[in-house]
């Protein structure tokens, strides 16, 4: 998209407005994921979070990663999680989510973690920080199937193993315990 011009009247770059909006949506929905009491809604909030993240990838000039994000995370993983939620919902399992007793401690730990990382990011000089670069799809493909061909193959084997393992785990034994 031909963004980058300054927005009229307010004088802020489009990219910055979009970044702030997407970041707000992402963080808000991420908080909903961990705080909502209805598990299906928190799953749906996770989808919103992923969609906002895909938007941020577009801002970072990585459209292929953004498309993969939508395809893999929203189209596959989220749907899988929604499936699992619907399968594990019965009389025995309440729909409402309950927090652990240590949730207060967890909140403190998370805030401390965020602060520490933020301070570290601010204090570090990242060296040659340049302008944002556009990643061309064909260069990416060339690198993926050239330099990264071994990791690529390893990942495909991993995926195969995961599929077989998941099928084995989730398959119901015919004479299993009822």
């Amino acid at each position: 998209m031909a963004l980058g011009e300054t927005a009229p009247i307010i004088g802020i770059a489009f990219a910055d407005i979009l970044f702030v909006m997407l970041a707000a949506v992402m963080l808000g929905s991420a908080l909903m994921v961990v705080l909502l009491r209805d598990i299906i809604r928190s799953g749906l909030a996770m989808i919103v979070c992923f969609a906002a993240l895909a938007g941020i990838y577009v801002l970072l000039q990585a459209p292929l990663v953004a498309a993969a994000q939508v395809l893999v995370y929203i189209g596959a993983i989220s749907v899988l999680i929604l499936f699992a939620i619907m399968l594990t919902q019965t009389k025995a399992g309440p729909a409402r989510l309950v927090f652990q007793t240590q949730s207060a401690a967890a909140a403190v730990a998370a805030i401390v973690l965020a602060l520490v990382v933020a301070v570290a990011v601010g204090a570090t000089d990242w060296g040659e920080v340049g302008e944002r670069m556009h990643t061309a799809t064909d260069t990416l493909a060339r690198v993926l199937f050239d330099e990264f061909v071994l990791p690529f193959e390893v990942v495909s084997v991993l995926l195969l193993a995961a599929v077989i393992g998941a099928v084995y785990l989730a398959k119901r034994e015919e004479s299993g315990p009822s």
């Binding site: 799953g43 994000q69 699992a84 967890a106 601010g122």
Partner: protein, 103 residues
């Protein structure tokens, strides 16, 4: 200030912290898996941000991000399969009732 590597990294850190909180605070196994997904996404965001701002990393970062996604897909598949397998035996998705090892 906004359009800089730091901003993206802080965003990533916040997302990671939220994921951490969710993982520690939730009792439901699927909810914990979702928190792990959030953390993985935070890491991915950091990787892509580095790639966008540091010229030498641009292509590598995208490749790594895509590989991370593939691994995340594998992780989610196996994780959910385990949750469903346990759920089938114990009839509950709450992790603190998964105490087979303790007995």
């Amino acid at each position: 200030m906004i359009n800089s590597l730091d901003a993206y990294l802080v965003l990533s850190a916040l997302l990671f912290a939220i994921g951490t909180f969710g993982f520690l605070a939730r009792r439901n196994a699927i909810s914990m898996l979702m928190s792990i997904e959030l953390m993985l996404n935070a890491v991915n965001l950091a990787i892509v941000a580095f790639g966008a701002f540091i010229p030498g990393l641009a292509v590598d970062a995208s490749v790594i991000a895509i590989i991370v996604m593939a691994v995340a897909a594998a992780e989610a598949t196996v994780g959910l399969a385990i949750v469903i397998a346990i759920f089938r035996n114990r009839r509950t998705p709450l992790v603190d009732e998964y105490d087979a090892m303790r007995r």
